[in-house]
């Protein structure tokens, strides 16, 4: 897959006009992380509603088109879902969301940073511990 496919209109649009960008009030979950390899930064805030559902979710961050678009798309997907849904999220879901780009190993972490931040936040809220295989196992 060529870079022209990776950087489709849609990705660029989410990069330049990120949905759900910003801060929330009265948040239940607030989680931030950086990618030590490239410095990309994502913070996600969640307000949890009834039935442990994601009532509201927003993100801020800076970094490459892939990390920012991925985080933004993820917030859209997550809105209204139960927290359990986040626990079950796997990286393949993120790839699919991005249109299955063929990312080299060094860019995969950009794509997954948003998911990592969201998961860490949700696990923390649920009092559980999220072990990030992709971050703690050398590639």
């Amino acid at each position: 897959m060529s870079s022209a496919d990776i950087y489709r209109e849609l990705i660029l649009d989410y990069y330049r006009n990120p949905r759900n960008f910003g801060k929330l009030e009265n948040v239940d979950i607030s989680s931030r992380d950086t990618n030590p390899l490239c410095g990309d930064e994502i913070e996600i805030q969640v307000r949890v509603g009834e039935d442990q559902k994601i009532e509201e979710v927003k993100f801020t961050g800076k970094g490459c088109a892939i990390s920012q678009a991925s985080a933004s798309m993820l917030t859209e997907l997550a809105k209204g879902k139960p927290l359990e849904w986040v626990k079950e999220l796997v990286k393949e879901d993120v790839f699919e969301m991005l249109g299955n780009p063929d990312l080299g190993p060094s860019r995969v972490k950009c794509a997954l940073l948003g998911m990592k931040v969201l998961k860490t936040g949700v696990y923390g809220y649920l009092g559980a511990h999220y072990e990030d295989q992709d971050a703690s196992t050398p590639p």
Partner: protein, 412 residues
């Protein structure tokens, strides 16, 4: 005479086997030399020859292999020291520049730094010349201060002078910035620091590979550089100290090789420079660094520098012609090494690097291990193309074309 002739790039490229490989079907255009350089066949051969013919441990061996290995390793120390104008016994082999600054931080710093002392670094330093001093400051209670920069990315001498008035105990600065390309006048800065009573450390990681360096003329107390940035293998570099200084210092790492006598409760140390080379040293790579030095000397460092200035002139011209490009660092190529950092419209450097890679063009993107400098530049990241002896004007053209392609994809 020889020095004045330009490098014959095509002939020289043949010495580097990797340059004939293809990346994603394209010719490899390697412009990530500030991160690490490629190796000529003579350096690879040096490794093969060592392991195939006289591989052995050094210094304590009475047998023939050991004597040959010791002679080659110490021969390389002599060459490498001479290359930067130092005596061999003042050159400690380390893993690289980072280990050199750490060695000084522990072995010199812990003995000499006291609570309230000032350590001066600059805003353009690589993390390897910042974090070891942060740690030393934490251990000793010293305070770390940063020299500011002028808007063009050169050092602000007024700021430097102001900090010198605080009588710092240590002044550590880079000879050449790995992001801005800025070449600092190391001799002048060392003289000013010495006048103020400070000990000086110069980070030569980006200088020794790219221009003639004479530590005697610079008159620094410590000078550090990395082999892998000057055509040598990974895993080896050097710390050069002012005559006499190593003798006054405590050791850093301890163990085999660096001792004279080990008693149950204390030990005494070997002569310099061995006192600072604990355990089995990196013999093969130490020897191969000597082969890299020979190769660079056969070209001549004046010619290396001239070649890079010519590439720099051409590249700065070509790149500034692209709409949306912002270059960082001094525009005067006499003050600048072959490093060009830039940003392009709102294309994030990582995205740019991915697109360039598809064209076979390898550049670096990110914070370049210089986060304080990135904050000063007020950008989260930058792209960087950096040159070396085997780069040609064609490489610059390929870089330009690839950036233009990224511009089309990102609809800049």
């Amino acid at each position: 005479m020889l020095e004045s002739k330009a490098i014959d790039v095509e002939r020289l490229r043949a010495d580097f086997p990797i340059l004939s490989r293809k990346v994603r079907g394209k010719r490899l255009v390697y412009l990530d030399n500030a991160a690490t350089t490629q190796r000529p066949q003579v350096v690879i051969d040096s490794l093969v020859r060592f392991y195939s013919n006289y591989n052995s441990n050094v210094h304590r061996s009475v047998h023939t292999l050991g004597e040959e290995a010791t002679a080659a390793y110490e021969g390389s120390r002599k060459k490498t020291a001479a290359f930067v104008g130092a005596r061999p016994q003042d050159l400690v082999f380390v893993r690289g520049t980072t280990e050199a600054t750490n060695l000084v931080s522990f072995a010199w710093g812990d003995k000499n730094m006291k609570k309230g002392d000032v350590i001066v670094v600059t805003t353009m330093e690589h993390h390897s010349n910042i974090v070891p001093w942060q740690m030393l400051a934490k251990r000793s209670g010293a305070i770390l201060k940063y020299v500011g920069l002028n808007p063009d990315g050169t050092l602000d001498l007024g700021s430097f002078e102001a900090l010198l008035r605080e009588a710092p105990r240590l002044v550590a600065f880079t000879h050449c910035s790995n992001v801005l390309g800025t070449i600092n006048d190391a001799a002048k800065l060392c003289a000013m620091a010495k006048e103020a009573g400070a000990t000086t450390l110069v980070d030569g990681a980006q200088a020794v590979p790219h221009m003639p360096v004479d530590v005697g003329a610079i008159d620094s107390d410590f000078y550090a550089f990395s082999g892998h940035k000057m055509l040598g293998p990974t895993g080896i570099g050097a710390l050069v100290a002012r005559r006499g200084l190593l003798e006054e210092m405590d050791p850093f790492q301890t163990g085999g090789e660096m001792i004279r006598e080990v008693f149950d409760d204390h030990s005494t140390w070997n002569d310099i420079p061995y006192k600072f080379e604990a355990g089995t040293v990196n013999i093969a790579d130490g020897i191969a660094l000597g082969a890299a030095v020979d190769y660079l000397e056969s070209i001549g460092m004046e010619r290396v520098r001239a070649h890079e200035v010519s590439l720099l002139d051409y590249a700065m011209n070509e790149l500034t012609a692209i709409r949306g490009i912002r270059l960082y660092g001094p525009m005067d190529t006499r003050l600048r090494a072959g490093v060009i950092s830039f940003n392009y419209a709102d294309v994030h450097p990582h995205d740019l690097a991915t697109i360039l890679d598809e064209e076979g063009v390898a550049i670096r993107s990110g914070h370049h291990c210089a986060q304080p400098l990135m904050r000063w530049l007020d950008v989260p990241a930058a792209s960087r193309a950096s040159f070396y002896v085997y780069n040609s004007h064609d490489d610059v053209d390929a870089l330009k074309l690839a950036i233009e392609k990224a511009g089309r994809i990102f609809k800049v």
